[in-house]
């Protein structure tokens, strides 16, 4: 194969002539930027995971274990802000989207390569600002990741800087979204129609619209909070005639759609992995495409279900409750499509598939418990308890987090041209899943028993559940650490990966591992249907 002789993007800096660290820091290459995001995102993930573990150790026993109430408040705020803004929101789109969206579209780069580099710097700047706010002007805010005013307006902590950091990060993800939309519209391979776009790219496209339309709302809101604090305008402060509920509307108008920004790319990853390892066309390609767009649209209309207890009118509560149930439909369409794809397929078990299956399971539990919270009647009983914490982690960690791990295992051979050890990967995935269940299932029970969230301490009746959760957390962290160690060890064992190790049929599997600078040495030929495995099965030795 002549393709294999073409130097990979690691060996060809873009723009040409840059060497060493500059070849990375000034690059316009979407693949290098994807990897730069990878290391930055993993760094923040590790930091937030350690903070999360410390929170869990604090809750392991009653009373003060390792930190005071104040430190605990700052710890959960920091854990939430880093995980949400620096890991979950940018994770899959910024790393795998940047790396694979142009390749799946059969093109050489995103539409605005320089803007892409700029988004990376905004991401880094936002992260640095968040950390700076930790050490300046009275310490980190203890408002949780929602920065609720008027408390945010009254607190003496450093809210403006943290809020500004969130704003900068929102800007970064918005620019990435802009880049993806323009790339999908203007840079697809000439003979690729809309219904020939792979599902991962479709999910990124749907996500990008939400980012583009919703992020300005949070950006403006956060600017208003800063203006309110510094200039005392009177937008949200009831003492000055302002309306705190206005802030909550504005905040959730972004943050609820943002939940779909977090989950949609994860669903896209699973939609790639399931057909590849089922050796079978995905069930309901168009249904998945439209459900992605449906989630993006319906998800933008349900924000006020976070505010049932804030004194809205009954009509509003009824409407938002109904709309919330509607979101379950496109989500269920996806889950059923994945399961139907697996039905009667010749399934080839692999670490990415295992993570994807765990995703389906955990995410379904997260989604179903979401209905408990989405229904106004049941919400009243469990709001502000650990039930909410468990639901949130099932969807965001069990969902997006495990989809992220699946994507990491699926595309690692393509990104680095190296295979990892399967046995260790299976052990790590099992350990993480068992740990996950032991960690978060007790939280559902604790929530139903009435354990409130955001306390560093609890009453004796909650001791058993918290002890169990602590054991789960340790297993979970052990699994995740083993997973990363295994992936990193592939740099030492250096087992080369073939161009198509899994038998995938989207375009990234037609180029060498790792891909060359311009991705495709020749104009790629586009399959009529993106998940047509006929050719793959014909070449496969086993079939």
């Amino acid at each position: 194969m002549t393709m294999a002789t073409i130097p990979s993007f690691f060996e060809t800096p873009a723009p040409a002539g840059l060497t060493g660290i500059r070849a990375w820091l000034l690059t316009h290459d979407h693949k290098r930027l994807g990897l730069m995001y990878l290391w930055a995102v993993l760094f923040w993930f590790a930091v937030a995971m350690i903070i999360g573990l410390l929170i869990r150790i604090e809750l392991m026993t009653m009373g003060r274990t390792i930190m005071s109430a104040g430190v605990y408040n700052s710890a959960f705020t920091l854990h939430g802000v880093i995980m949400i803004f620096l890991f979950v929101i940018p994770g899959i789109p910024a790393i795998f989207g940047n790396f694979f969206l142009p390749i799946q579209l059969g093109t050489d780069d995103v539409f605005f390569p320089r803007l892409n580099l700029f988004s990376w710097y905004l991401y880094i700047l936002g992260g640095v600002l968040a950390i700076v706010s930790l050490f300046t002007a009275g310490g980190f805010p203890d408002t949780g990741w929602t920065f609720y005013v008027p408390f945010s307006i009254g607190t003496k902590h450093n809210v403006p800087l943290t809020v500004f950091a969130a704003f900068v990060l929102g800007m970064s993800s918005m620019l990435t979204g802009l880049n993806f939309i323009t790339t999908v519209h203007r840079k697809r391979a000439p003979d690729m129609g809309w219904m020939q776009i792979p599902l991962f790219t479709w999910s990124l496209y749907a996500t990008a619209w939400v980012q583009l339309l919703a992020t300005p709302v949070i950006s403006i809101t956060l600017l208003l909070v800063i203006a309110e604090r510094l200039l005392n305008i009177g937008l949200f402060d009831p003492a000055r005639g302002g309306d705190p509920i206005l802030y909550q509307h504005l905040f959730w108008m972004y943050s609820h759609p943002a939940v779909y920004v977090m989950i949609l790319p994860g669903m896209g990853v699973v939609s790639e992995i399931i057909p590849t390892f089922s050796r079978k066309a995905i069930f309901g390609y168009k249904a998945i495409v439209f459900s992605s767009m449906g989630i993006a649209i319906a998800g933008s209309l349900v924000w006020a279900h976070h505010m049932y207890t804030s004194g809205m009118s009954d009509t509003a509560i009824f409407v938002f409750s109904l709309l919330t149930f509607l979101v379950a439909i496109p989500t269920a369409v996806k889950v059923f499509s994945w399961v139907s794809t697996l039905y009667k397929a010749s399934i080839d078990m692999s670490p990415p598939l295992l993570y994807a299956l765990v995703f389906i399971y955990l995410f379904s539990v997260g989604g179903l418990t979401g209905l408990v919270l989405g229904a106004a009647g049941t919400n009243i009983h469990v709001h502000d308890t650990h039930f909410v914490v468990a639901h949130f982690h099932f969807t965001m960690f069990g969902g997006t987090g495990f989809a992220f791990f699946a994507a990491l295992h699926y595309w690692w051979p393509k990104m680095f041209g190296l295979m990892y050890n399967f046995r260790r990967a299976y052990i790590a995935a099992t350990l993480a899943t068992v740990g996950f269940l032991f960690h978060y299932v007790p939280m559902f029970v604790l929530g139903l028993m009435g354990m409130p969230r955001r306390y560093y301490d609890y009453l004796p009746q909650f001791a058993h559940g918290n002890g169990l959760a602590a054991v789960g957390a340790i297993l979970l962290v052990a699994g995740i650490v083993l997973m990363f160690v295994n992936l990193l060890l592939s740099f030492r064992s250096r087992v080369p990966a073939p161009a198509n190790p899994w038998g995938g049929c989207t375009l990234e599997w037609t180029v060498p591992s790792p891909p060359p600078l311009h991705n495709f040495p020749l104009q790629p030929s586009i399959q009529e249907y993106p998940y047509d495995f006929t050719e793959i099965l014909r070449k496969a030795p086993r079939s």
């Binding site: 005071s68 109430a69 104040g70 408040n73 093109t107 050489d108 539409f111 203890d142 408002t143 949780g144 609720y148 008027p150 408390f151 009254g154 203007r186 840079k187 000439p190 203006a227 200039l231 005392n232 305008i233 009177g234 937008l235 402060d237 009831p238 003492a239 000055r240 005639g241 302002g242 309306d243 705190p244 509920i245 909550q248 505010m307 207890t309 804030s310 004194g311 709001h383 502000d384 308890t385 009435g450 354990m451 409130p452 955001r454 306390y455 301490d457 609890y458 009453l459 009746q461 104009q523």
Partner: protein
């Protein structure tokens, strides 16, 4: 191409950034007051004579809660319960106590807080006799009759055998209210229409009247349980924030001017965006750069 040069763009942006906050600040509710300064408490006192007045010589406090965790409330203060009987705090605070400052004729959040407290008491893991709840009206115009009228609305949420004296619905005169609210750092404000803007907060006291903890907003049974456990131990603890930490009359007309600024701002942005889009779409297709490989 008739695009604005970058320098002009930057200058326009800077001018906007400089002008907007000034405009916005000048358009606060009331319009003429200086909203950069904390609300002038002296004026309100003179006008309504009803707010928690700061002690003379001490700097005025903004609306909200100035936490006094660990300090004692004056137990000698005398209020009237819903039956019109005079009761001193000392008589009531003989066990861990939850104090909820509200006013009974509140059109918005207070009834929500009272119902919340009833629900929390019902679901609480503590024995009913082991603690006491006090709802205190900070409106000196309210009478025991009004408290008696409000009471069944909330006690109906509780078990039938709930003892009458476990939850006192207090009213009082101005001085007693001012002393108690000052002691817990609770600063509220009376509006011209007779309603109040006030923080929504539950205060846990131990049996000696020491302030143990503040729980803000829409507290749940678990919050109350933990607060009572801490009050039983008598160890002051850090406060807890929940959603909606203020109760205020919902009057959209009040912040009309701010909303107008927002409306005009978004209108200007939409028009500017529309013009930009029109200019962009007017370009001939042949002007567009060629893309793709």
């Amino acid at each position: 191409m008739n695009r604005l040069r970058p320098v002009r763009q930057t200058a326009l942006l800077l001018a906007f950034l400089l002008v907007w906050p000034v405009m916005a600040a000048g358009h606060g509710p009331g319009g003429h007051e200086d909203h950069h300064a904390p609300p002038d408490r002296t004026q309100e006192r003179a006008g309504t004579d009803r707010t928690a007045a700061p002690p003379p010589g001490q700097e005025s406090k903004a609306l909200g809660v100035d936490e006094k965790t660990g300090e004692f409330v004056p137990l000698d203060l005398v209020f009237r319960n819903e039956r019109g009987e005079q009761v001193s705090l000392r008589q009531l605070v003989d066990r861990p106590t939850l104090l909820l400052p509200i006013y009974y004729r509140c059109p918005t959040g207070c009834s929500f807080e009272l119902a919340n407290l009833a629900e929390a008491i019902r679901r609480s893991g503590h024995d009913i006799g082991s603690f006491r709840a006090i709802s205190l009206s900070f409106d000196a115009e309210e009478t025991p009759a009004i408290a008696a009228e409000a009471r069944p609305n909330y006690t109906a949420l509780l078990a039938k055998d709930f003892p009458q004296d476990a939850w006192a619905f207090l009213t009082g005169d101005h001085d007693a209210i001012a002393q108690l609210t000052r002691a817990i750092g609770f600063v509220f404000q009376k509006k011209e229409d007779g309603t109040f803007v006030h923080p929504s907060v539950l205060v846990a006291l131990d049996r000696e009247g020491r302030i143990i903890k503040y729980v803000y907003g829409s507290f749940i049974a678990g919050d109350v349980d933990l607060a009572l456990a801490e009050a039983a131990k008598g160890t002051p603890a850090s406060s807890i924030r929940r959603l909606l930490a203020f109760c205020f009359p919902a009057n959209p007309r009040q912040n009309q001017q701010i909303l107008n600024v927002l409306k005009i701002g978004s209108g200007v942005l939409l028009v500017a965006g529309g013009i930009g889009l029109a200019l962009f779409l007017r370009r001939k297709p042949s002007d567009r750069p060629k893309f793709g490989p």
